[in-house]
């Protein structure tokens, strides 16, 4: 009988593995970009319809040098962060109420679910009407976008909490508020974090509609503007930046998720511990 299971040397689980992991993340995008560039150069698609990545990068570089890009990105990031925070801050009490009280659920949930069905583009004329054309309607629209995924996931998370744990809180003499704070919210945390990530995503998606409202700055504006001007390089540059920024903020939330959920004894954490 031979030596059986030896743990993998500590080194592998450390920096080296993580670096390998990061590298793997680039395989798919790099292959896609290479295909696209080749197709463009080979004339399979017209450059004015789908300019090659190099042309997009060239545009981005020039816009970066002119300082314009920084403004667009900064403005959009500010809007998304403001709207996202507002949406999440409103969704939290709503979800707690609906998650806990069947009465609140009957009263609020159907209406919220219906409002959830209103597409971002449909909000534009309404918000314009109510709030004019400054920052308020834009941030509000983004907040609406971020509200629902977080709300939905948090309600589901609260509904899914093990009744047994809530009973512990009750017999330990915790107040309703303490139960919410110490049991329901942490217990619903995995769902809430999924909701946070989905809400952040939605905030970025709604940004484009928001920046249809009388804007001249921001990535959403850049996208619409590029289309209006038939500038495929601008359109693709904006898409690229939106995708990267979305990914970046999602990445931050993912790190947060990994940290906050270390206590779990689940598949994910089992892998991480190994």
């Amino acid at each position: 009988m031979a030596q059986v299971m030896v743990t993998r040397p500590a080194v592998r689980t450390g920096a080296r593995l993580r670096r390998a992991g990061r590298a793997e993340a680039f395989i798919v995008p790099v292959v896609l970009l290479a295909l696209w560039e080749t197709a463009s150069r080979a004339g399979l698609v017209q450059a004015y319809l789908l300019p090659p990545p190099s042309a997009v990068v060239a545009y981005l570089a020039s816009a970066l040098l002119s300082g314009e890009l920084v403004t667009h990105v900064a403005v959009s990031v500010m809007r998304v962060l403001a709207g996202f925070s507002a949406g999440v801050a409103l969704a939290l009490p709503a979800a707690v109420a609906v998650g806990l009280s069947p009465r609140a659920e009957r009263l609020l949930d159907p209406t919220l679910q219906a409002i959830r069905g209103i597409p971002s583009l449909a909000w534009v004329p309404l918000l314009l009407l109510w709030m004019g054309i400054d920052e308020a309607p834009k941030v509000t629209l983004i907040a609406i976008g971020a509200f629902f995924p977080f709300y939905l996931n948090l309600v589901a998370g609260i509904h899914g909490i093990d009744r047994k744990l809530v009973e512990v809180g009750r017999v330990q003499g915790l107040s309703q508020l303490q139960i919410i704070r110490h049991i329901l919210l942490p217990g619903a945390l995995p769902s809430a974090l999924t909701g946070l990530r989905a809400g952040m995503n939605m905030a970025w998606l709604f940004l484009v509609a928001a920046e249809l409202i009388a804007g001249t700055r921001g990535l959403g504006f850049l996208l619409t503007d590029g289309r209006e001007l038939s500038r495929a390089d601008i359109v693709l540059g904006a898409i690229l930046l939106l995708a990267l920024l979305g990914k970046f903020f999602d990445g931050i939330l993912k790190v947060l998720e990994n940290r906050l959920l270390r206590w779990r004894d689940s598949l994910k954490e089992a892998k991480a511990d190994a």
Binding site: Q46, Y48, P125, I133, T224, D225, R227, E228, L229, S230
Partner: protein, 306 residues
């Protein structure tokens, strides 16, 4: 109150600029509007309109007070109860035409029979298409109309998804330069002009302000007539167009008659027949009456010197 007359003044001057209104770009570029109202301490707020329907939304929701649209869009809005009026014609643009691919066998409007044609419903190119069909004795049912947003129409044409496209500048100019797309039917009179609109109540309340805004537009118009090259440069720069596209677009703008009048009334009347036929104007609305209410030439008459 309404009695204020010359004394009444809004807290700020809110107007739009648009890639399809070269004069607005010229004014913004030179800062003439700010210059005009500086002495009064009135701030000027610019809003970018990315299309007629957005310009109308800004006007209707009182987010802006002067906005630029195509004439047909203003007519539709007025017929749907939005109390706007045209006070100035910023251009007689030939911004739309029928376009096909370089190698397409389509030569005349009659060739469109049974073909797929892209257009955006309710917009100038759409009305242009229907009027063009009419000249060849065709109607909408003789072609296969494909509803596409302007930039999408251009792409669809290029990819052969459609046989022709009721194009709009600058997409049209670009298609022409990029892939040699052909403008096979043109008629500047079938375009419905570039309208500068205000809300009726605003015009009633601040007639002096309206006149002074139009005065600035006049200044820009004269300047543009005198400096076509520089105007093209401003257009290229502000609207991120290549210089060639900007030059081509500008050649299709006629700045000579800024006063709303009979010419425009006729143009709108012709357009309105199409709009009624297509059911785009609600039944029960009298187009003649609407056009009468829409056109308000007094301010332009007072400002424009022949």
């Amino acid at each position: 109150g309404r009695s204020g007359g010359a004394a009444a003044r809004p807290p700020e001057i809110r107007l739009d600029y648009a890639y399809y209104s070269p004069l607005s770009l010229v004014i913004k570029h030179h800062g003439w509007m700010e210059e005009e109202f500086q002495a009064d301490g009135l701030p000027v707020k610019w809003v970018l309109s990315l299309g007629s329907n957005k310009a109308i939304e800004y006007l209707a929701s009182e987010s802006a007070d002067f906005t630029s649209t195509a004439g047909a869009a203003a007519l539709l809005a007025r017929s749907n109860g939005i109390p706007l009026q045209v006070v100035y014609i910023y251009s007689k643009p030939e911004w739309t035409a029928l376009v096909t691919r370089k190698d397409s066998p389509i030569r005349t409007v009659a060739d469109l029979k049974g073909k797929k044609v892209a257009a955006t419903k309710g917009t100038d190119p759409y009305i242009f298409l229907l009027r063009a069909l009419d000249t060849a004795g065709l109607s909408q049912s003789d072609i296969e109309l494909v509803h596409l947003q302007h930039p999408d129409g251009k792409a669809a044409l290029d990819r052969g998804e459609v046989d022709a496209w009721a194009g709009l500048d600058p997409h049209m100019a670009q298609a022409n330069l990029e892939s040699g797309a052909r403008l096979f039917f043109r008629n500047p009179d079938f375009n419905t002009y570039g309208f500068l609109n205000v809300r009726q109540s605003y015009a009633d309340r601040y007639p002096e302000i309206v006149k002074r805004v139009l005065k600035v537009y006049e200044r820009a118009r004269r300047w543009a007539l005198e400096h076509p090259e520089e105007t093209a440069r401003i257009l290229a720069e502000q609207a991120k167009m290549s210089p060639e596209v900007a030059r081509q677009v500008l050649t299709r703008n006629d700045f000579r008659n800024p006063i709303p009048g009979e010419e425009h009334r006729r143009g709108l009347a012709a357009a309105s027949r199409i709009l009624v036929k297509e059911g785009l104007i609600k039944p029960g609305v009298d187009p003649e009456k609407v056009i009468g209410e829409l056109i308000r030439p007094e301010f332009a008459r007072a400002v424009v010197q022949p």
